[in-house]
Symmetry: D3
Amino acid sequence: MKKYNVGIIGYGWVATAHIEAINKSDHAQVTAIYSSRELDDQALSEQWGTPIKSYTNLQEMLANPDLQVVSICSYPNQHKDQAVQAAEAGKHLILEKPLALSWADCQEIENAVNKAGVKSCVCFECRFSNQFKVIKSLIDQGLLGDLHYGEIDYFHGIGPWYGQFRWNVKKDPGGSSLLSAGCHALDALLLCMNDEVVEVTSYSTKSNSQIFEPYEYNTSSVTILKFKNGAIGKCASSIDCLQPYYLHTHLLGSEGSLLDNKFHSMKLGTDKNNWSNLALKLLDSGDVSDHPYLDQFNVFFESITQNIDMPLTSLRQAMKTFEVVFAADQSAAEGRPVQI
Amino acid sequence: MKKYNVGIIGYGWVATAHIEAINKSDHAQVTAIYSSRELDDQALSEQWGTPIKSYTNLQEMLANPDLQVVSICSYPNQHKDQAVQAAEAGKHLILEKPLALSWADCQEIENAVNKAGVKSCVCFECRFSNQFKVIKSLIDQGLLGDLHYGEIDYFHGIGPWYGQFRWNVKKDPGGSSLLSAGCHALDALLLCMNDEVVEVTSYSTKSNSQIFEPYEYNTSSVTILKFKNGAIGKCASSIDCLQPYYLHTHLLGSEGSLLDNKFHSMKLGTDKNNWSNLALKLLDSGDVSDHPYLDQFNVFFESITQNIDMPLTSLRQAMKTFEVVFAADQSAAEGRPVQI
Amino acid sequence: MKKYNVGIIGYGWVATAHIEAINKSDHAQVTAIYSSRELDDQALSEQWGTPIKSYTNLQEMLANPDLQVVSICSYPNQHKDQAVQAAEAGKHLILEKPLALSWADCQEIENAVNKAGVKSCVCFECRFSNQFKVIKSLIDQGLLGDLHYGEIDYFHGIGPWYGQFRWNVKKDPGGSSLLSAGCHALDALLLCMNDEVVEVTSYSTKSNSQIFEPYEYNTSSVTILKFKNGAIGKCASSIDCLQPYYLHTHLLGSEGSLLDNKFHSMKLGTDKNNWSNLALKLLDSGDVSDHPYLDQFNVFFESITQNIDMPLTSLRQAMKTFEVVFAADQSAAEGRPVQI
Amino acid sequence: MKKYNVGIIGYGWVATAHIEAINKSDHAQVTAIYSSRELDDQALSEQWGTPIKSYTNLQEMLANPDLQVVSICSYPNQHKDQAVQAAEAGKHLILEKPLALSWADCQEIENAVNKAGVKSCVCFECRFSNQFKVIKSLIDQGLLGDLHYGEIDYFHGIGPWYGQFRWNVKKDPGGSSLLSAGCHALDALLLCMNDEVVEVTSYSTKSNSQIFEPYEYNTSSVTILKFKNGAIGKCASSIDCLQPYYLHTHLLGSEGSLLDNKFHSMKLGTDKNNWSNLALKLLDSGDVSDHPYLDQFNVFFESITQNIDMPLTSLRQAMKTFEVVFAADQSAAEGRPVQI
Amino acid sequence: MKKYNVGIIGYGWVATAHIEAINKSDHAQVTAIYSSRELDDQALSEQWGTPIKSYTNLQEMLANPDLQVVSICSYPNQHKDQAVQAAEAGKHLILEKPLALSWADCQEIENAVNKAGVKSCVCFECRFSNQFKVIKSLIDQGLLGDLHYGEIDYFHGIGPWYGQFRWNVKKDPGGSSLLSAGCHALDALLLCMNDEVVEVTSYSTKSNSQIFEPYEYNTSSVTILKFKNGAIGKCASSIDCLQPYYLHTHLLGSEGSLLDNKFHSMKLGTDKNNWSNLALKLLDSGDVSDHPYLDQFNVFFESITQNIDMPLTSLRQAMKTFEVVFAADQSAAEGRPVQI
Amino acid sequence: MKKYNVGIIGYGWVATAHIEAINKSDHAQVTAIYSSRELDDQALSEQWGTPIKSYTNLQEMLANPDLQVVSICSYPNQHKDQAVQAAEAGKHLILEKPLALSWADCQEIENAVNKAGVKSCVCFECRFSNQFKVIKSLIDQGLLGDLHYGEIDYFHGIGPWYGQFRWNVKKDPGGSSLLSAGCHALDALLLCMNDEVVEVTSYSTKSNSQIFEPYEYNTSSVTILKFKNGAIGKCASSIDCLQPYYLHTHLLGSEGSLLDNKFHSMKLGTDKNNWSNLALKLLDSGDVSDHPYLDQFNVFFESITQNIDMPLTSLRQAMKTFEVVFAADQSAAEGRPVQI
């Protein structure tokens, strides 16, 4: 029997990916959905295969003692209030990215979570992807040596052909190029460089294409980072490019380099003039249905059971990424380096 | 009959590439070489197939009225004085990069050249490579639309296996990662973005590898740029990486993108989810014998004949690149954005 | 709400592809089907998701004032009479290829359509394929210059493994190698060469294979064409080959060449000794379910609304192709060039 | 010791390829060269490694009884007279293509050769290439069954970058697109189809490119052929295309097809939807130094020794190809099919 | 109407593949299933689309006169008794591999089948795969000449991720690496070498990996074989490797070699330094749903109708393979060559 | 100044490769050559660029106190006597493979070397190839875990096209398929498996091809091996195959597998269904000029200087391989397993 009943907050595109993954897990099932629209419980239950009750009143759902977990899939500008309420109601939290639209809001969520003592999982699910698990293993096996420079970038044109476009174009709730999408790349960069960021500088701009005209904010940015150990990094984020999806990854270390699924390692003595290749599944699509939610949620549910912070994507961990994201956006806005 | 006699200043590795290209040209030939070492004129003449007189006194060579052109292939810290003397002697100038080791020195060269009214050619020969001629054509045909973001990077480990390493490791004459090698990438970026730079910020660091320990300066840097028209750019330069040579090029525009030899263009209606490919010769080696000197020198000699500034790599043009290089190095040193 | 109700004439293999595409369109839906066999209305409606009434009497269906459009998917030897009747009933016409089995019949259809003032769409849907849209853009951007020679060929063995084989083998309604299938290639050639044909010569033959023995006519032909502007072309059509499907395309122009999805253009300065590649979806199957009906039909329905002749595949346009097809078959039969 | 002494007639580009191949052979060596220019015997002997005497008077050279063989490498409009004189002098003949510029001249050569009883070798050396030896083996093993359609085409832009361009552009001696170059493709087609041609029709045209403006004749043609056994064929020849060299080969038979180095054979039961590949050296360059002269000449010298007509490229065999070439050019000129 | 009713014995994983293939055949259908568990007839009939009656008593099912054929899909240690009973009941037999767990049991089955005069089909379905049909054609066309050495190996890690693992790990019924899985490779080797085996020697071992710890027998073996005609062979079988599935095939003959889907043949004159490639579907998965059961069963049903032994996989044929399998396992156990 | 003078014994094909490598080394130079033919000292010195004295009397050369090292490049049946004499003369020894033609001769050499206390280097130079250095690193990094099965094979047709063929076909000095060539593969297998061999069984045979008819011994063999730690291995050696050169390598371990330049490692978490690729230079030619002699000789000369046994290819190490080779040949000859 499954241990955890999960309530979904916000019933849009990303919610469907969450429900599918949660119901595939051996640990949990979705039994409640909150939406501002009235939903048909029977249709929902049939569609998802678990008995689902819908709510248009969030407090009412949160008051249900049979729910142990909620997953927040609403618009980013609703995240903070809902997360705080849910934490106060004692529910463990799955939090879609972006966590919130300001650093202050993020901190408010963290305070509520800490106070309530609930567990948390932020959807930086790329950390659970085959691509980054292999890259992390390569680093951990020492095949690249000490990293001194890293680039991970997000190139994915989010135009009218993409579900998120409709609301993403607005400053509120879109936020910025990094906040609305590129934070996945920045988060992966922090995972690989594995050190504290001490300063960022960021520049931003916007395409002349009519397609991206509706955006109320700069849709391309490039951010450079200084780490405590002296290493440096860079993260470009473009949601206004016209090209194949590309999560560009380039890491330089004292024993070799990695470029996407290619590498060179002096530890193995391979030919420095040619790349060796890793058989891995590249993240080559922005489609949420491709994202490794299931692995991430399984780890989260197991962590709840063991009463520990989940590895890799706990709120505590994710806060470090969002702190850098907000600093980068501040740098681009104010035209100066920002210390962290 | 060939029109121009060329004198070489400094007889090292890069000089051999210059002599070979000049002698292949229909316009000119090498007839003099200045070196601090005594050289054997007969051996030189036999090796290169033109009658060559060697000098250990530079003024003596510059006094020769049969020389119309000199090519400066000496150590970077000698460039400025020699260039000024040669210009004052009325010789047209081929100038290897880096032009000089400070912006003030560059300006001194420019003043001398302007005053003497001689023609100049700075060795940013990548502008004459098949790779960048094709990329420029693609941009000029409008297949990428207006560019709003561009990255061109230099990844080339310059270790003991590479001729330049011996002197390159010293602060003087090596200078910086950009000055000693990466300026090719920055120059190509300016060629493609085709606009004035207004601000740069740069961070730099160094590999932990023993191989690169001898370097007296930071061997990896990343620089971000703001252009007058609002576009932004980025140039990484690493001479301490361990991987295949890679002159990474990524340009985003309002009609498509280019990534190395791949592109997508909405103008052609190709499949946005896959790259189209251009048959071009990628600059995939740091070896000067691979560099397109011949084309560049031919254009230079023709420009002398026509009494015009050469296109693409005149001193006037190259000064814009070096101004950005020195600004970037200053930014990295002082820890703040630098306006231009 | 969808604007147009469509009636299907002939309920065979190709009809299913039409119905699927029409029902996917935002502009129209299938509401009637004429077949010589009795069909079950409820089963049809369930299968296709729109309320469908079936008829065994064509006049009865054509008399229905709620039908604005009919699509003729019957055997080729029935096309002419049905098309004339439908035009006379004031229905806009979708016409599968071949239009009819003689040039006189084609003209009779055209007269009826002109007289009735109805709109028409002939299924040369390859003009709406990604492959030929990209090729046409490349030509229109001037990347190939002026074309002086073009080959587009149809190599697709139509044997017992292929639905159409059953009736295709008969002289009536199969017609010829070009009429029954190869006319797609010839039509694409005319699209690319973009000029009037003034003369054709054609030779034809037949494979010795037992597999193709049932054919009553020559199953391979090769036709050469002269255009008014002096250019020349060639179209081979083989439905008796044993190999992968291949719509071979080779165009020569004053600035470059195109070969299938590869090209060289002097306008871009790419390497003449190697092909550049276009990311496009090659038409590599004869399966009608792969054909871009939806795009073509959408354009047709929009043209009806705007009361204009549809671009690319109107009857007026398609008549030019069929005139060449019939001239080629006449040339092969009579052993002499045929002027147009 | 080598058996045969060879005299070269005409000392241009192609002659150097002949001399190199002859001197590499175990059977023969070049000992004489006729040229209208005075040549330096010592320099020639040193360059080629055999003792060479030069002549400016052809009769004088032909009078030398120590010469058993002559190779005719002069301009095409000189071939006939020189070949007749050489045959009358009792020399065995190597004849570069084109044999001559008219069918009458070809016949005159054949008569002289037959009368003198000398052996002959026409330079259709592609018959000795790995590519066509493998293709012929595949056909002879029955893997393609009976061929009913074949295309072999010559696509090779002969512009100023190509040695032959200088004289090739003139009507005399260039002749036509087929005569000056494309006859290699037509000859290979006859080799593969292995049957008598009974009729040809040919159309020709010319590129609008300035590059090819100097040509005095049509530089692209397409010819279709009827064979005695009912099979048909096609040969395009373009010396005014701008693309990689391409000797396009496509053969259809009753058991499978061959496309360049790819094939499908029902005899092997391979997957009909994908091509199998043959490891062979494609003729992908028009450079005579790539051509398999050595194999061809070895076979010729052995045939002289055995007193038999050489296989594959004797004059008798080559006459069949030239008869078709002249018929095709006549067809293009007169605008009608030509019977053979 | 379908001719044969088939009863399935044992309702596990492989049974589902059999039922699907049998019901796709035009000759037969599954109408009965024997299982030790009670099954729901209505659910079975709906799932498989044929009216199925289930039995928990085997004799009862075998007594049904409407069943002509049974397919034995139970555990290997049940095969012998069930096969003998079914043969005695006059049913034609489909026998999954391994036939039985001892050579004596195999012989007992053969005796029962011979006595009953029923037809038999052993599931060495790889003989009906595209891969081995093409390889056999290549051999039969003489393209490899006489084979003197052959290797066919089975590399497929059967761990917890694979259905069969659960029972496969036990000595009874798993047997050995060859018996439980590798016999497919050995059988394919005998098919290709096409001669009697006279001696085998085999060595076996086991991986140190925890994953394969549950196996009660050696999971990797390598066997070498002597054939009557002097040829030799080798078959490795590893079910404890960690890599992609690989049915490695390498055959050496007097006219060429074959390596998986690559070959060289002197008969075709291809380049000996490069492999030619065959378009074929490699057996690259151990998944039974990929196996060509349908073709094999169709041939079996047709053989029953014609009252002949089926080609390629009759019991008589398969006995030869199992005799070698048991000899190899005996050799590994006793540490000495075993004669056959 | 170079430290060691080397004398060559036997001046054939392999000697030229040795001389070239030795003279490229910074440590040594060839100054003497012993040959049964008279050689021209001046010509030798000019060809090789070092002053060389030739000898037809071996003792005379060995008596020269300026020679520190000799390299034995004569026929295999001369190795033993020459090696013993050279050791007795106090020369350090480079020994080409095969060491000798019997195990007793090998032991005699070892005794002489041990008694004389000279250093030795056996030409198993593949141990110094990039391919096996990378493979060894991969194993040593633990990426494959513990190896339990390994195959390394030698497939290289040695026919009339190959220098060695002339004498290789004779039983003496050719020996066997393993002795004359395949021992490289067996030696590489022992390098990788890194354990003592306890038993071998070998079968051998011969191709029916006329090409290999001159061989006096079996030209293909397959050997299986048991190691002390329980692992098993296999080495096929074929010098009568007709295919590209292939040093097939397949290693199975408890953490992954390696196949030629491909691998899978659970340590990295790469996709088990696809191979990762290593950038390495495969040994894909039997040409001695491709062999990594220089690296091997440099290590040998440095070992002499340090007065240590050279790593990887000392005589002591190589004896282990030859012991297995002779055991395998004995097994094939006597038809039984042979213990070691």
